[in-house]
Each structure stands twice: as C-alpha cells, then as structure tokens.
Symmetry: C2
Subunit: 156 residues, 2 copies
C-alpha cells in the first residue's frame, strides 16, 4: 500500500485534491535503495520522477575533463528529482546515489501518459506545476551562470 501523504504537499500536486491524487495512486510505484546504491546513472536512459519519502541522495555530474563525479545537489525527504526524465525520456542528465537508505515514490513517463488518458484535467495541472518547478530551477541556474562571464560564453 503506497502512502500518498508525501505527495499531498508537493508542488507537483498544487491545485489537485486528495481525492484526485488517490484516484491516480496506482500509476505510482514505491522503490527502496540501500546506502551507496546508484538510483540513476548519468547517460543511461531515465524515464521517471522520484519523490523521496525517506532518506537522502546526492546528484552527481561527471566532469568531462577529469571524469570525476562532482556533486551538484543533495536531496532528502520531501525533495523530488527526475522531473526532466518524466516528461522527456532521454539519457539521465546526472547520476543519483543514495547517501543513506532511501525510499522513493516513482512515476514513469508511461504512467504519466496513462494519467493523461485517465484524467486530462489532473494531467494538465501536474504538467503545469512541473513546468513551473523546472522553470524556477532554470531561473536559479541562469542566475548562477550570469555571475560568471566566462561560462556565459558557452551558452551562445
């Protein structure tokens, strides 16, 4: 039985009632990971979003020049990752490794498509919320890049 409490307060479900969430619960899958487990690996196909119910993970990107992994984020309970892969199946932009035992509720791209056929209104609200979240992350990233004129040149 999937506990949906973690979803209710998440921005992805803004404007969506508890009853509506309960009706789409079967499209979600609960996953468990041990400390040090790679949940996703950069470059491998990713197709799902993860809602961290319990635990902590680090998001790692490979530095092209050195091949070393560089930590770009840490996420824990209440955080979400994989938004980009949920809506656009493609190689994972980064690796994700559990820093301690971690439980996550996941929704795949296929599951999202099924939701669109099951309830277009809920689907469109979820996508709108997701787009806003990604947009806010892009805004922050652009702010960071703007601090460094040399990095800016890479964007042109």
């Amino acid at each position: 039985m999937v506990d949906l409490t973690a979803l209710h307060n998440h921005s992805l479900f803004g404007g969506i009632t508890e009853d509506q969430i309960a009706r789409i619960k079967d499209f979600f899958i609960l996953e468990e990971y041990g400390e040090g487990d790679f949940i996703e690996r950069e470059g491998e196909t990713g197709d799902r979003i993860y809602f961290i119910i319990e635990g902590q993970v680090e998001i790692l990107k490979k530095i092209t020049e050195t091949g070393k992994l560089s930590r770009i984020f840490m996420f824990s309970e209440g955080d979400v990752f994989g938004e980009m892969e949920l809506i656009d199946v493609q190689p994972c932009a980064a690796s994700v490794r559990a820093l301690r035992p971690t439980t996550a509720l996941t929704l795949s791209n296929k599951g999202l498509h099924q939701i669109s056929q099951y309830d277009l209104k809920v689907f469109s609200l979820m996508i709108m919320n997701l787009a806003r979240d990604i947009s806010r992350r892009l805004r922050k990233a652009d702010d960071i890049i703007a601090l460094c004129p040399e990095l800016n040149k890479l964007k042109e």
Copy 2:
C-alpha cells in the same frame, strides 16, 4: 491579421494541428519594437511569451556586484523567450533589448488560461511541449554549471 506561419513549426505546437492553432489565434497579439527598445526589463513583472517573427534581440542580466548588464543570449527569427513568465507570472529573470527592428507574436499568461478553458487538450499539449523546452534549457545550464566547481557550491 496575425500570420501564424511562425508558430506551426515551433516546438511549443508539437502535436497540435494547423487547424487547432488557427482556432486559438485570437489569444495571440502581434507586437513591434524599434532598435534599442527594451521589450522586457529584469525585475519588472513579466507575464508573456514572445515568438520572434522578424528581427533580433539580446537577453541581458544585471551583474549584482557591478550593476552592469551581461549578455547571456541572442535570439532571432524562430526563437522564443518568456516561456518562464508565461507559466509563472513574476519579475522577469532578465532584460530583453531589440538589436534591430523586431516583430513578435506574444501570448500572455491570461491568454494561456483562456486557452485552457477553450481547449484543454491543446492547452495540455502546449504545456507539455513548453515543459520539455524549459527542461532542455535547464539540462544545458546544469552542464555549464557542472564545468565550474565553484559555481556548484552556490547551488547547495
């Protein structure tokens, strides 16, 4: 009369037919700008997306330390900006200035909301396409930031 040709091939309308675009055309407004005109100013409220029909613009961000404007992008015919403000009305993340006479087709957040009430299917396709575009931009931005460990620290 708004020429919708510029919209047909844009990713925002992926999966949306020409007939469907024609039916939502009245929600779009055509705007014209002279060389040097500020189309948007960083920090002022932005609420719309712009499809450049003709011309060229530069996207500028203010460097906090110096107050100077730093160019982070240039856009021309076929390019789009304001995706973030379309779905999330808030202070513009950057300024936009016309580098030469520029014509743009615009859609406001209010217009988008009207489309959602008029045709939920078209609306949800547009938002999905928009989310994918923003997601790809975030992916590129994260790649750039990953090149610079010192910038990474700002994200934690």
